[in-house]
Symmetry: C2
Subunit: 303 residues, 2 copies
Amino acid sequence: MDNFYFVRFCCDVIQQFNLLLEYFYQSSGMELQKMAVALVACLCLLVFGATTSQAGHPAHPDPKLINPLRIMPEASSGDSVSVNNCLSWRLTVETNNKRNWNGVPEICGNYVAHYMTGKQYGYDCDAVVDIAIEYVKSLPIPRDGRSIWIFDIDDTALSNLPFFSRPDVFFGVKTDNAELEAEFYEFVLTAEVPVLEATLRLYQAVVEAGIKAVFLTGSSERSADARDKNLKAVGYHTWEKLILKPDSVTTSVQAFKSEVRDQLVAEGYRIEGNIGDQWADIVGSNVGRRTFKLPNPMYYGYY
Amino acid sequence: MDNFYFVRFCCDVIQQFNLLLEYFYQSSGMELQKMAVALVACLCLLVFGATTSQAGHPAHPDPKLINPLRIMPEASSGDSVSVNNCLSWRLTVETNNKRNWNGVPEICGNYVAHYMTGKQYGYDCDAVVDIAIEYVKSLPIPRDGRSIWIFDIDDTALSNLPFFSRPDVFFGVKTDNAELEAEFYEFVLTAEVPVLEATLRLYQAVVEAGIKAVFLTGSSERSADARDKNLKAVGYHTWEKLILKPDSVTTSVQAFKSEVRDQLVAEGYRIEGNIGDQWADIVGSNVGRRTFKLPNPMYYGYY
């Protein structure tokens, strides 16, 4: 057991206890004595656990840890000073308050890792898709075959989590560079990128409602075969169009996607809905009758 | 001490322990025995506390509580099934995935209460304002006096928290009706609505940068005197315009605000920024050079 992790674990526990005790105090406003006794006893046990645990293992002194109790900003609960509060940071990202950011703040790396690999990310994707499916079911779809739904691919139809969980990427803490970009391209070319389950569920509801799927991605056209194969392999069996970005297009993903949507509308399609994990997917022109934003705290549209 | 709250508190603690243990397990992958012993001991203590606490107080049997251990969805940590996950619910609200909702789900009432009265709401407002101030400082402002910044009032310039924390409103769980609306109007007319600290900080940076403040609100013009007095009393000393909604306007707040902004632009003003707590404040036409969304999980623009 690593001392560093154990101490941080204890910090987390103490912090959670404080929060809950405060919450409890606000709720009842009395009879805290027994709770305080239980709390103190628990803390004693934790300290005892830490001591005996440390005793049984070789020490790994970390020169950075002058006072481990001060590393609260890295705690997954995120209840800390504003500038290092990772819950706040994620909210500003997801609400498009923070823009054009490049890389997850190092201090929020563990928080994002925990969020992406824990249950909450899945819950959040499901919550968005539940609303989208409810909307799909409410739509009157004319039987003229002109209704389409636009799906982004990366971290929307498919999940790049296996790539972003690599140690040399660490959930977006390590920012892009030529080497990483090349590695990501290789990852795409494997055509083994896993499905994002929630989006597949939406896709099924969309197709069932008589709306045609259009996959629109900022990925290079050079990956067209891999993407085609990948999408089909994970369950996206049919679509009206699969549109990738030609290498000749040098505008931003947002501008590229807007132009494509303008063209689709000009061709007589009705964009009933549009889902992506990036704001660049759902702002601009002809965004669609309604847009849906999936969470993604790992990057801001730089691929 | 209320049994109901105590049992929920225990649920919270157990849930947090499980989460942290899981996190810890993922981090270290070994030496769980000592932690498990400490955990079990803590749980025993908590159960002991619950028992003695209950014994010392008169029972308040709640007929709804068939099995108190099943009320996990109400826990403030929100780690529960998707449909009742209040963290997910708030994210869908703040990202404008969920729209036109009317009232906080009853199951998320305690979560929202905890969020609004705890520290995180303040941290989140500060995080948005920090980004806005950074943006303000980056702006080249021409010295022609035509640069303006649009501030919404309710839950942006001022905080309606004292009203929403009333038991008969309970942070937005109790939805609007004629009676509540009349009560809210009375609250506004007191002209004693407190400041939202973060927004005042932005206001000061905006004015200092040579940008003029424009307060734009969906509140009725009948409250003009109260709003004027209230804004000045809390520190918004000067402004270019204070625009309230005339009773003759029957369109939505979003349409009303868009029309006003169109008019301001037609008059030659440049909207350098625009901040509000509702998406209705920052979508539509002429939204401004950049928009900022403050959190508000209590209502969706129905006042």
